[in-house]
Every structure is written in C-alpha cells, then in structure tokens.
C-alpha cells in the first residue's frame, strides 16, 4: 500500500477550479518534487495533502485511511510540514519551538516528559541547532530558522514530511545546505518527502521523482529526466528555456535563453 495516495482530487475556491483530477501516489522513502508556475496549484495541493483544505472531489489517503477521517492530532503524528518562516508575535526560544513538535503526541494535561526532551534534542542534533537551543527565534538568521523548523518537524516523528517552498528566502549556500540535510534524512532514515518548490534546478538535483503542474492539472510526472525537458518546461512556464545536463551530476539543468 502506498504511503500517500492522492486519488482524482479536484478543488475549487468559490467557482474557480484550482486543481482538476490530480492523481498520484507516493511510496515510502520517496522524495517527490512538485514544480509549476505561479498559480498552478502547487501550494493548494500541499494544503489538501496536510488536511487544511478539503477537496470537493476525490480523496487523499494516508496508508489507506482517508485523511478527513483522522483527527488533527493523529494527522500531525504522521505528517509534518516545514513551512516558510513567519515572524512570531511573541518571543519563543529555539528549544520551545522544537518541543512544540511533540505537541500532537501529548495529552491535553501533559507536559513534555524526558522522552520528549530526548527526541527534541536528537532533532536539534540532526539539524545542528542544539547550540542555538536557548536563543530567541527572532535573533536567528534565515538559514538557522529554517533548520529549527526542520527540527520541529522531525520532533513530530512523522512518516511524511511536506516542504512548502522552504528555501524561498535563502541564499544559494543555505538552499543547498537545507536540501542536503533533507536528502540525508530521506536516504539515511527513509523519511518520505514531498517538496513544493519554485526552483526547478533544486528539484532536479535532489528529487527522485517530479510532478509538473500547470493550471491545476498534472502536465507531466515521473523521473526527473522524463519531466524536466525543454518541451515540458517551455509549455508549462511559457518561457524560453534551455535544458541540458549538469556537467558533474548529469541531472537536468535549466537555463533561461
């Protein structure tokens, strides 16, 4: 049984269809990239997978269970989201933010136990944020904040991790650092990843499979080499591009022409 199946999902805001007949599956251990131009429905798709939006047609199943049947806390124990960082209204320390990842595992009255502190500590070790534990979130750099958000998602002990344009505001070095860490989690720990990104080259470099969306439909899906081609990218983005091979890795590389 696939870990995630998105079964002929259609979604509309008001009268406007944003997604039509989206259909794909994600196996355990996959690293799937979702790319597409602005307004193609990438983020809407992600919000349907994490249960924030309910599709009007079709359904999303997590290991066979329709996610609408799961309670929010049960869903949060299986699916974690690494969002873009947004400013906090009030100061919280790094450790407090990472411990929030334990929240879906705790009962209403319970405080974090030793086990929760240990899991949060491991998550911070894996993301090199342990040294920042006592720091205030607002005092961190963009790259550090994004690492803390990965640590929080890891503390949820999810089976599926969703990335929502997590590197949109990071420079090249931190983009690479971010995706290196995610790929290591994917390879070494078998964590399943679905990443929505604007950056076609990052998707080509890191993902095993890619879905290309255009106007709410799947334009192309499959291996990186099969999806990221001159023709597909030109059709989806309506922009002149050149796709060749990365000289070192051999993965597709796009250049504006």
């Amino acid at each position: 049984m696939p870990l995630l199946s998105v079964d002929r999902v259609s979604f509309k805001y008001g009268e406007q269809w944003v997604l039509r007949g989206i259909d794909f599956e994600v196996e355990k251990g996959d690293f799937l990239g979702v790319i597409g131009p602005n307004g193609s429905g990438k983020t809407t798709l992600l919000r349907i997978i994490d249960g924030i939006l309910r599709p009007q047609e079709g359904e999303v199943r997590l290991e066979g269970t329709e996610i609408g049947r799961l309670r929010r806390d049960a869903l949060a124990r299986s699916v974690a989201v690494v969002p873009q960082y947004s400013a906090l209204a009030f100061p919280f320390s790094v450790e407090e933010v990472v411990l929030m990842g334990r929240s879906p595992h705790l009962g209403r009255w319970r405080f974090e136990a030793d086990r929760d502190y240990r899991i949060a500590r491991e998550a911070m070790e894996m993301t090199d944020t342990l040294a920042l534990a006592a720091r205030d979130m607002e005092s961190l750099s963009g790259g550090e904040r994004q690492r803390v958000l990965i640590a929080r998602a890891l503390a949820q002990e999810p089976r599926l991790m969703l990335l929502d344009e997590p590197t949109a505001f990071l420079d090249i070095r931190h983009q690479v650092d971010f995706f290196d860490r995610i790929r290591a989690l994917n390879r070494d720990r078998g964590l399943t990843i679905v990443a929505v990104t604007h950056d076609i080259n990052l998707a080509a470099h890191y993902c095993d499979r890619v879905i290309l969306l255009k106007d709410g439909r799947i334009e192309a899906a499959g291996s990186v080499e099969a999806v990221i081609t001159d023709e597909n990218i030109r059709r989806a983005y309506e922009t002149r591009v050149l796709v060749d091979r990365h000289p070192a890795t051999g993965s597709p590389r796009i250049t504006l022409t």
């Binding site: 994490d50 407090e96 933010v97 411990l99 607002e138």
Partner: protein
C-alpha cells in the same frame, strides 16, 4: 512614618520578587516543577501585598493586637474595618486583576497582537452602556443592580461581535478585531449621548464607574467573581499548550495537531466571560490586562502554561497594590483605581520596554 513604610513596601515587595525571579528564571523550558515554583513565589508575593493592604489606610490598624484577638467575632471598629470593608475590597481587587490579566494574555495570543487587551472585542463597551443606563435610571440602590445590567450589556456585545464576525462557522481574527472595534466605537458614542443627558448628581457615579471603582465591594460580589474566574481559568488552562501553537500561527497550529476553530471559539468565549465578570463588578479598569501579561512574558517567557497562572497571580497582586494606593494616596477622598493603574503602569512599562532585549528582560 509607618504609613510611608507600608506605601514603599507595597511597591517594593513585588518589584524585588520579580527582579529576583527574572534572574533565576530566564530561558528555561516550562516544566510542572517550574510552573509550581513560580506560582508559589507569586502567591507568596500576593499574600504579602494583600496583608499589607489590609492594614494600610486612613485608620491605623494595630496588626498584632488584631491577630491576638483572632478571628473571633469582635465588635471593635478595627475588626469591622479590616474584615467588613478592607478584606472584601482586597478580594474583589484580586479577582478583577486576575481575571483581566488572564483574559489579556489570552486575547494577545489569540489575536497574535501585542496591543490586544481584554476590552478589545467590545466586552467593555457593552458593559459600560449597561452600567451607565443603570446609574441614570437610579438602579444603584438595588444590590447587584449595576453589575447585573453591566453583565447583560457585555453579553449583548459579545453576541453582537461574534454574530457580525462569524461566517459559516468560522470567525477570522481580523474580522473579529474589526467588529470589536466597531462595537466599542458605537458603545462609546452611546455612552457620550447618555452622559450628556445625565444630571449632575449622576455624573460622579458614571465617571467613577468608567474609570474603575472598587469602593462598593462586598464579599458577595468578590465571591461571585471568584467563581466566574475559577471556571473560566480552568477552561482556558486546559488549552494553554494549544495557545502556544496559535501564537505561532493558525495554519501551523493545525499542522501541529490543534483543532483550531474549536479551540479559538472556546478560548474567546471563556476570556470574554471572565472579562465580563470583572468589568461588571468593578467598572473599566484599564491597563492591567495589557500590562501584566507583557510584564510576565518579559520575565518568564511566552509559554502559556506558565504565563497564564503567573499573569493571574501577578494581576491580582498588581490591582490590590494599585487599589490600596487609590484609596489612601489622597485620603480621606478616593481616586478611581484606573487612574493609578495607568499612572504607575505606563511609565513602568516604558522602563521595561527599554530594558528588554529581544523581548526578554532582566531588571
């Protein structure tokens, strides 16, 4: 001399206690042990301030003699002053301060807005219209006449605000904030209209109510307020961890497993309820509900599991101290306590803001 000494300690005891706490407690995660430690400390401070308040006033009280007589029924004037006048008033101040501070902390978190206070969603406006109408109609001669009308007014305002803001079972924070502001503005206009038609003898009563007045406290009122506060606080505290996540953002709270709509609804109503109870019993005491949660956050951090009980206890302490100043500073005449909370609160708050680094503070 004694009175001067009492005055100073009334302010110094909480300040020193918080200063010591701010040195020990910064940057630690909230554990049950830490929450109880802070609560014990703050309860000790409250008890000390309340005891000082009980013996402070125009009439000198010999505390030793009073304690020697014990709680046995006594008809001496000292006994009557302390047990029938001052203690009910202290209890009411404590309940009102605790309720406003707790509600302020909740509203700041739910609306993710540091400027939020318990009055932001129109509860105060509705209560004020009710109370002013009652004073003009001369209902202040009835026991619980004004509080009942104020409570009625605040509940009408809550229903109105949520009715205006709600759509298909959802109440977005932005819409809620706007409809609260509008209801408050409307109520202010209504109050101005009522005041301009009121006779001179009623105006004094109206003004005192609008600026907050604990002078008519009775044990019955304090008890009623305490029951409302305990019920509301229990419901709110059950959702304290969810409140932390809501502060991070509603979407992220959902992703971390919070049933956001339900939690928000429960918290809004519980916080409005304790605000309505406080306002009905004491009038509009400003600044407490804004200042105390920020002060506690600066010292103990933003975790609501600690912030809520600490705000509750320190809010009680703060208002008891402020009310003691209000009734003794210009004795035998009294100031509205709202004047004191703002006069002392605002400069102190500015001092704290200046001392704060990245939102946390040691002073």
């Amino acid at each position: 001399m004694t009175r001067f000494f009492l005055f100073i300690s009334l302010l110094a005891v909480p300040a020193i206690a918080l200063s010591v706490a701010s040195r020990i407690e910064t940057g630690k995660a909230a554990t049950p042990l830490r929450v109880s430690r802070v609560c014990v400390l703050l309860f000790g401070v409250f008890a000390a301030v309340a005891a000082m308040a009980a013996v402070t006033g125009p009439h000198r009280i010999d505390l030793i003699a009073l304690l020697r007589q014990g709680l046995a029924a006594d008809t001496s004037p000292e006994h009557t002053i302390v047990f029938s006048v001052r203690i009910p008033r202290i209890l009411l101040a404590a309940v009102v301060g605790a309720a406003l501070s707790t509600a302020g902390a909740v509203f700041q978190g739910l609306l993710r807005n540091p400027l939020a206070d318990p009055y932001i969603l129109g509860v105060s406006g509705g209560a004020a219209v009710g109370a002013v109408l009652g004073i003009i109609a001369g209902l202040d001669i009835l026991p619980f006449g004004i509080p009942a009308l104020a409570a009625l007014g605040s509940f009408a305002a809550i229903v109105l605000v949520f009715g205006v803001a709600g759509r298909r079972g959802e109440t977005p924070s932005g819409t809620l904030l706007l409809s609260g502001v509008i209801v408050n503005a409307f109520c202010t206009a209504a109050i101005m209209f009522l005041i301009s038609t009121a006779s001179g003898t009623r105006l004094h009563g109206i003004m005192f109510w609008l600026m907050g007045d604990l002078g008519l406290a009775e044990s019955g009122q304090a008890l009623l307020g305490a029951v409302a506060l305990l019920a509301g606080f229990a419901i709110i505290y059950l959702h304290s961890r969810s409140l932390n996540l809501l502060v991070i953002g509603e979407e992220q709270a959902l992703q971390l497993g919070v049933d956001v709509e339900k939690t928000r609804r429960v918290l809004f109503f519980a916080a409005s309820f304790i605000t309505a109870a406080a306002v009905s019993l004491s009038g509009l005491i400003g600044f407490v509900g804004l200042l105390v949660p920020h002060l506690i956050r600066m010292i103990f951090g933003s975790d609501y599991r600690l912030l809520l009980p600490a705000s509750c206890l320190f809010g009680a302490t703060f208002l008891v101290a402020a009310d003691t100043l209000a009734r003794t500073a210009l004795a035998p005449s009294e100031l509205p306590v709202g004047v004191i909370t703002a006069l002392f609160g605002a400069p102190f708050f500015i001092y704290l803001l200046k001392k704060t680094e990245a939102g946390r503070c040691r002073f």
